[in-house]
Amino acid sequence: MADYIDDEVNFGDWSSLDINVSRRVPICLVLDRSGSMDEKDGSQLTKIEELNKNLKEFLDYVRGNAKASRICDICIISFGGVDEVDVVCGYTNIKDLKYAPLKPYGRTPMGAAVMKAMDLLKLRRNYYRSNDIEHYKPIMLIMTDGLPTDNYMAAATEFSRMVQAKEVKVFPVGIGKNFNKEVLRKFSPLVEPKTITSADNFSKLFKLLSASSSNPNDDSLDKWFQDEA
């Protein structure tokens, strides 16, 4: 690196050079770990087991893929418990990411979780801006199997504004048969919520997300969601 920079100086009369060339893909997963996720719905495993299994495979993919591991900044937020919103990890490179399987319990404070996700995204964008780092469109995956148990409208309105302003690309996912599509639509004015009801659906979702992580121009995930519409 130092040699490279020294060489670069030879192309001009400048010193103390620093360089940030790698463009980042901010990916945020907002995940439901409410009590109902402990139930089975269309798969041999419970919903939380399916989620944990596929999430691990996704993270393993990012860790093992040279490009994805370089460009992805991953944020994981879970919601459940007694209106708890946990930042499992802020926007972090995979090599610094510590992750333990989610444990299902309690209610579904999705509004607060999305609010937290928006705050972290704004902070991240400021970080990119102040460090001269270009980034791809932020991706946010919201997964839930039920109805929010908190007052989610303020979060949905603000988040929809961000989506309309193309500040973030959201992929809303309803797990099983008991979630309310209308509620998810309030967070996603442009993309129709996707229903996943089987192990295959889980696997496909995270495989497509993996493809986006290593190739941000890959639009297979968008297309899969468009099929739902």
Binding site: E8, D18, N20, K67, D132, H135, K137, S220
Partner: protein, 442 residues
Amino acid sequence: MAKLNRLYFIDEGVFSTDKFYSLLEILLDDPKIEPYFAVDREIQNDINNFLSMGLYDDAYNIQTYLYFFANRRKLEYITTSGFLDLEDFLQKATKYNEVYVLTQQEKVYDAFKGLKSKMPVLKIYSVRHRNLVEWKETEKTIYKAFYVENDKYVNGLNIDKIDYVYSPKYGYLKLEKSKAVSGGEGTCYKTYNGFFVKLYNKNHLNYVNLKKLQKMMEMDISNDFVLWPLDIVYYNNNFAGYVMKELKGAYNIDDMRDLGFRVGDMSPLDRYKICLHFLKTVDYLHRKNILVGDMKPDNIMVKPPRSVYIIDSGSFQIEDYCCPVCHPSYTEKVYTGKELRQNLRTIEDEYFPINRILFEMLMLKSPFYNKENIEVNEEGNRKFEYPMSKDNLTSMPMHLKLWFAMSDKMREYFYYYFTQGKITYLSEWIRELELFIKQKEG
């Protein structure tokens, strides 16, 4: 009756058009015309460029025509200074009854059209399908592509379920389904015997693509840096895609940019050399009336330290066969799917991705980058804010350091292209890059 003396001024790119020798036979056989030929005095530089790239066939091709004209004592060399000064042309052309300029380049047309008032016997033509087609202003952007309405040539072929394909040249090719790369038109797979197969999605398994590939099979493209289709492949006798050489150990430009072009022991100057090789390869294609079309960083591969390959040739624009896909960040215009399929793009259209990719390789940033515009592929109004002078700068961030590390001319070329749309053609870019590299190597 005495024959009319007619001068053909032949721009170098014309020699590379498909079967130019057949057109030449027609020109020579006209009983009413005594033909004479002229070329730009700098044509020898073009030949040397081809030789330096190892493109011996192309160099030999032009040299053969020049010998042919010279042996008949019918060859003139004319100084044009890159078509900026046509005084020599005017002087030499006055002795002929008719003067025809043959060129594939809009810039050459633009240079000569102003002479028409001074020289009524002057006509300007391009060569298409071995015919002379008179240049007209209105023809610049409205060439129609070979287009078939509701074109679905193969139905019901699900490429996800195909494990092998058949190539008449290479036999059965078993696909490594785990090694797949998806794109807009289809999916590419490695084969078990060292090839790479592209299978089209159902919307692209059409008659136009089949005919285009058949045309490509007939063409003589002998540039190792263009991954040309080797054969058409079939599944159960149905057209499925094409097979090409597998490129090992290469990175696409997008990845290289994220790595800062620092793979192995690559030096900063290698970035400039990569740009030069890239431009020479594009120039090679343009001279054959081929446009890359879907020119984007994903389709340009670098084998360190500095070999550049252009892939995805099945989507090239070849003669009347369009390039049906594009990446919106790498086109100047916004195209609808129908426009892409029905209209041909011009060489000038291709200068947007050329400038953008070149800029990104040299600068490691988007040309529309600024503090408020850091999102990739979302350039808003595409405002180019790199300054031509350091005078009013209060700070010098990295991207401006790289900007001012380029030569003055390179900065001018970019500045005028991105602010005024003024094109610097490949030949000038190549010359400037060669000069810059030579100076840096001391």
